[in-house]
Structures are given as structure tokens and as C-alpha cells.
């Protein structure tokens, strides 16, 4: 199949199957969009009404006026941006040292970090919940951000990236009398911007969509992230303003992440390529 030349278009039967597949992918999203622009009353008892007009933006107006939904959006932004910034700083520092500096136990410490790749969240999450309760970190931004900073993948990824940068650059800089910190900050770090973008996008996506940890750590609705807030709305469906409002919330919560995806599509694809080569 891939023996065909890469520039060749798709053949008829393959194209037909792809179109069916695309319809299966998109229909649920279109259905959600349609439900979100119907008045809640019209959907009561007959969600088939979503297939025909009249349509309205009332549900979106209600969301913008809803204090909690905006608060959840703000929380999600703070937690995801905080996690992303933290991961980039910590992984870059550690990756630089593991790739470039000599220090005691360097190899064993690196293996110790790689071990983290094999630890599933399930083995850690309950005792961590205990630990954070002792430290009084639940229902706080640090409580939501800190667990996201312990991923080994970022360190591994940045180490590989720093290793790929030619060593001549270091030698030249060090001969000029630059310190290690200066070498890191002004010479090598600017060269890692593509890697930073990739790692940043992935961390942001993962953090934005994380469910398990914020579900058990944030127990007051003021500290819910959008993901957890929408879950609570979904579980108490009977008490919400209705189906149209619920679906508008879903669309509203997807918009930031879809924007990130569309803007950074290239980085995402490149990152995948990098992961698969290893």
C-alpha cells in the first residue's frame, strides 16, 4: 500500500473508506455542536429537535455569565501553564546536566530517573493523596501543579536533545571563559527551542486533560479544573440547566485545546516522529 509513490492521490475505494471513517470521527462532534445551539426547553424529551432550526447562542451567553465555568477555565489555564513552565525549566536544567556535565553518580541518577517511565500513576496516586493531605496542599494551585512536574519523560527528552547538539560549541564557549550557567543559558538553550515547543505542547495537553488527580485533590468547586467541573456537571445532569447548556460547556471547554492543537500541529507531528525513532 505504501509502495505507491508518496505524491500519488488516494485511490477510489480507499478514499471512500476514509470518508466513512472521517464521518464516524466527526458526527459525534457535529451532534454536540448542534445540541449546544438549541434552547434547553426544545431538547426536553426530544433531542432529535437538534437536527432542525431554530438555533440560538443562549447557552453560550449563559456560560459566559456563569461564575463557576469562568473560574474553572481560569483554574485550568493556571494549572496547565504552571505545569508546562515548571516542566520546561526542570527538564532543561536536568537534561543539560545529564548530557553535558560530569558529576558524581551521573549514570545512576539518570537510570533512577528513567525508572519513572515504568511507574504507572495508579501506584502513586493514593499515597500521594495522603502526603498532600498531611502537607495541606489539597484545594490549592501548588497541589494541582506539583504532581505534573515529576514526569521522567521531559528529562529524558531534553537529555537526548542536548546530546544531539555538537560539542564544539561548548568548547568554544568554555575557552572564552564562559561559566557553565552561561554556556547553558546563552549558548545551548536557544538551540533547544524546537524541543521546548514540542515538550511544552504535550505537557499542556496532558495537564489540561488530566482527570484522576484533580478529581481527588480539588474537592471544592472553586478549585475544580474545567475537566473536573464538567464531570461534576455531567454527573448531576438532572440539576443542570439542561442538555443544550451541558453541550455548550463541552464545546467551550474544548476550544482552548483545539486552538493549541491547530497552532502547534507541526510540533506535535515532529514530536511523534522523534518518539517513534527511539
Amino acid at each position: 500500500m505504501s509502495a505507491t509513490s508518496p505524491r500519488a492521490g488516494l485511490s477510489g475505494p480507499v478514499l471512500a473508506l476514509l470518508l466513512v471513517g472521517a464521518a464516524v470521527m466527526l458526527t459525534p462532534m457535529v451532534w454536540t455542536l448542534l445540541l449546544s445551539v438549541k434552547s434547553n426547553a426544545a431538547l426536553l424529551g426530544d433531542s432529535g429537535a437538534a437536527l432542525s432550526p431554530p438555533y440560538t447562542l443562549d447557552n453560550y451567553r449563559a456560560i459566559l455569565a456563569d461564575r463557576l465555568t469562568s473560574r474553572w477555565l481560569l483554574n485550568s489555564l493556571i494549572v496547565s501553564l504552571g505545569t508546562t513552565a515548571g516542566v520546561l525549566v526542570l527538564s532543561s536544567l536536568a537534561g543539560f546536566a545529564f548530557a553535558r556535565l560530569e558529576f558524581p553518580f551521573r549514570r545512576s541518577l539518570f537510570l533512577f530517573v528513567l525508572l519513572g517511565l515504568a511507574i504507572p500513576e495508579q501506584a502513586v496516586i493514593l499515597p500521594r493523596h495522603q502526603l498532600f493531605a498531611t502537607l495541606g496542599l489539597h484545594n490549592s494551585y501548588p497541589g494541582l501543579i506539583l504532581p505534573g512536574l515529576t514526569g521522567s519523560f521531559g528529562v529524558f527528552f531534553m537529555t537526548q536533545y542536548f546530546r544531539a547538539i555538537p560539542r564544539d560549541l561548548d568548547e568554544a564557549a568554555l575557552l572564552d571563559g564562559a561559566s557553565r550557567l552561561r554556556l547553558f543559558w546563552s549558548v545551548l538553550l536557544p538551540l533547544t527551542i524546537p524541543a521546548q515547543a514540542t515538550l511544552g505542547v504535550f505537557t499542556f495537553l496532558a495537564s489540561w486533560n488530566d482527570y484522576w488527580w484533580p478529581l481527588i485533590s480539588a474537592t471544592t468547586s472553586d478549585y475544580y479544573t474545567l475537566t473536573v467541573g464538567l464531570a461534576s456537571a455531567q454527573m448531576n445532569y438532572a440539576q443542570t440547566s439542561g442538555l443544550g447548556f451541558l453541550m455548550a460547556q463541552a464545546v467551550f471547554a474544548s476550544v482552548p485545546i483545539l486552538i493549541v492543537y491547530i497552532v502547534f500541529q507541526k510540533q506535535i507531528v515532529r514530536a511523534m516522529a522523534g518518539t517513534a525513532v527511539r
Partner: protein, 292 residues
């Protein structure tokens, strides 16, 4: 070394210390703590009593745990093979530099960026018999809508389909990346030999992407063994525990019954299952590579 001196050598430690500190306190320490707690009768509020392997013995005899393990394995089996096959077929079809292929790639990846909450919200109102899209469709055809989320026999397939829809994008991307690594001249040689499509796939493409295939199957298996949000949000584990997964059982034991010790023991059992499955798959593939 050439820089010499103890301070210079310790500088590196300063660069890795911030990460290692967090890694140690927020990941490794809880991991060890968890193993310790699993040997205790412990509640969420701090009471502890050493009971050795008591929690593990309870788990082995607990029908709820048996059912949850069965459900989880069934879900993994219903999700991982079709998902892998589908993703590979799509990647083969979309591995070309045309505009159309790029648009299709975007469409098939789009669901992956959604959070589990949104995915279940979308699918609940596809599957539910009183307001779902499938019910509307069944109505239009004059049929009774199927109770996907409340029928013992339908609930696991319904969650599997939802999960496949959600997870397709990532494996496709991995396969595409793997396919890019296959040198084009190999295919040209195959074409000169008049090798058929199947022969080319079987003898050139498949061996070339074996590592990617392993990566996809391993990541997906490990991921699906930890399936949680879909079951919790779509069905709450019902009907009659028919869709309760291991992680959902852990969640219920910890935050519904407050039995932290027992929940931690269940988590360690899952950890062991994940390790065994991963090592087994790794061994199977590397063994074959050695053989030929």
C-alpha cells in the same frame, strides 16, 4: 574532569537537584509509602494497623475484584487489537504528502486532544436510549433504541467503541512516523521485483515498523489497563458492576469506603499486572527478533 576541582564537579548536581527533589518527594516517596500502606488496615484519616498480606488475601477472594479484573482485561482485549489494526491501516493510507491526506490526518487526530470528560459527555448523548443520537436514528428507522449503557452485554463494547474513537489519533501518528523511517529505495526494489502489495507489506513494511508496533501495543495496553474516566462517567461501573474497571474499583474503595490500605493493595496488584504485561510483550518481540 578537565575542569577539575570539587566545586566544578558538584555544579552538575545543582542542575539536576530541583527535578530530583520533586521526583523523590512527589513520586518515589509515595510509591514506597504505598507499598507500606498496602500491608496495613488503614483508612484515609490516618488510623493504621499492620495486617501483613491481609489486604492481598482479601483481594484474591473478593468477587468484586475478580469481576473488575475480568472487565479490565476484556476491555483491553476489545480495544487494543482493533485500535492497533485500524491505526496501522489508516497510517498506511495516509502516508503520503498530499493535501487530502493532511486533512484526513487532522480529522483522525482531532478527538485525541479532547479530555475524557468531554469525550464521555459527547458519547453519552450518542449512546443513551432516551436522548442519544443512536436513539434518534433508531426512532427514524422505526426501531427500538438499544440500551447501550444499562445492558450487561452492551456496556463493555460501548465503552470500547468510545475509547477507540478517542484514542485513534496517537497510534496513527506513531505509525506514520515509523513508516517515514522506511527507506524509499527498498520499496522501489520491491516494485522492480514485481512484489504484490501484500508481499511488500508482509516482508518489507511490517518488519521495518516492528519496533513502532511494539511501542503502540505496549503504550495502549498499559493505558487501557488503567481505564477509569470512561467507565466512571458513562456508567459509574454499572449495571451491576458490569463495567467496573480495576482503577474504578480502587477509586470506590478509597473514596467511597475510605479503606486506603485495601485500595493501595489493589493498586499494587494492578502495578504488578502492568509490569508483567509489558515485560511479556517486550520479551515476545525481542525473542522473535533474535530468532530471525
Amino acid at each position: 574532569m578537565k575542569s577539575g576541582g570539587a566545586p566544578r564537579r558538584l555544579e552538575g548536581l545543582a542542575f539536576v537537584a530541583p527535578f530530583l527533589l520533586l521526583y523523590g518527594v512527589v513520586l518515589i516517596w509515595p510509591l514506597l509509602m504505598g507499598i507500606g500502606i498496602s500491608f496495613h488496615r488503614a483508612d484515609l484519616f490516618g488510623a493504621r494497623e499492620w495486617i501483613g498480606l491481609g489486604n492481598y488475601a482479601t483481594a484474591l477472594a473478593d468477587p468484586v475484584v475478580h469481576q473488575a479484573i475480568g472487565n479490565t482485561l476484556l476491555l483491553a482485549l476489545l480495544i487494543v487489537p482493533p485500535l492497533t489494526a485500524l491505526a496501522l491501516l489508516l497510517a498506511l493510507a495516509l502516508n503520503r504528502a498530499t493535501r487530502g491526506a493532511a486533512v484526513f490526518r487532522g480529522i483522525f487526530f482531532s478527538s485525541s486532544v479532547l479530555s475524557v470528560t468531554i469525550v464521555t459527555l459527547i458519547w453519552r448523548f450518542i449512546l443513551t436510549p432516551d436522548a442519544g443520537l443512536l436513539a434518534v436514528a433508531a426512532d427514524a428507522l422505526g426501531r427500538e433504541p438499544l440500551p447501550f449503557l444499562s445492558d450487561q452485554a452492551l456496556v463493555i463494547p460501548a465503552i470500547a467503541i468510545t475509547t477507540i474513537w478517542w484514542s485513534l489519533g496517537f497510534p496513527i501518528m506513531l505509525f506514520l512516523a515509523g513508516l517515514q523511517q522506511v527507506p524509499a529505495d527498498v520499496y522501489e526494489a520491491a516494485a522492480l521485483d514485481r512484489a504484490g502489495r501484500w508481499t511488500t507489506f508482509r516482508h518489507i513494511t511490517l518488519p521495518a515498523i516492528r519496533r513502532t508496533l511494539l511501542l503502540v501495543v505496549m503504550l495502549q495496553t498499559v493505558g487501557q489497563l488503567q481505564l477509569f474516566g470512561q467507565a466512571q462517567l458513562l456508567t459509574g461501573g454499572g449495571p451491576g458492576g458490569g463495567s467496573r474497571t480495576i482503577v474504578l474499583a480502587i477509586f470506590e474503595v478509597a473514596f467511597g469506603r475510605w479503606e486506603l490500605g485495601y485500595a493501595t493493595a489493589l493498586a499494587e496488584i494492578l502495578f504488578a499486572m502492568i509490569l508483567v504485561v509489558t515485560l511479556l510483550q517486550y520479551w515476545l518481540v525481542t525473542r522473535r527478533e533474535d530468532a530471525g
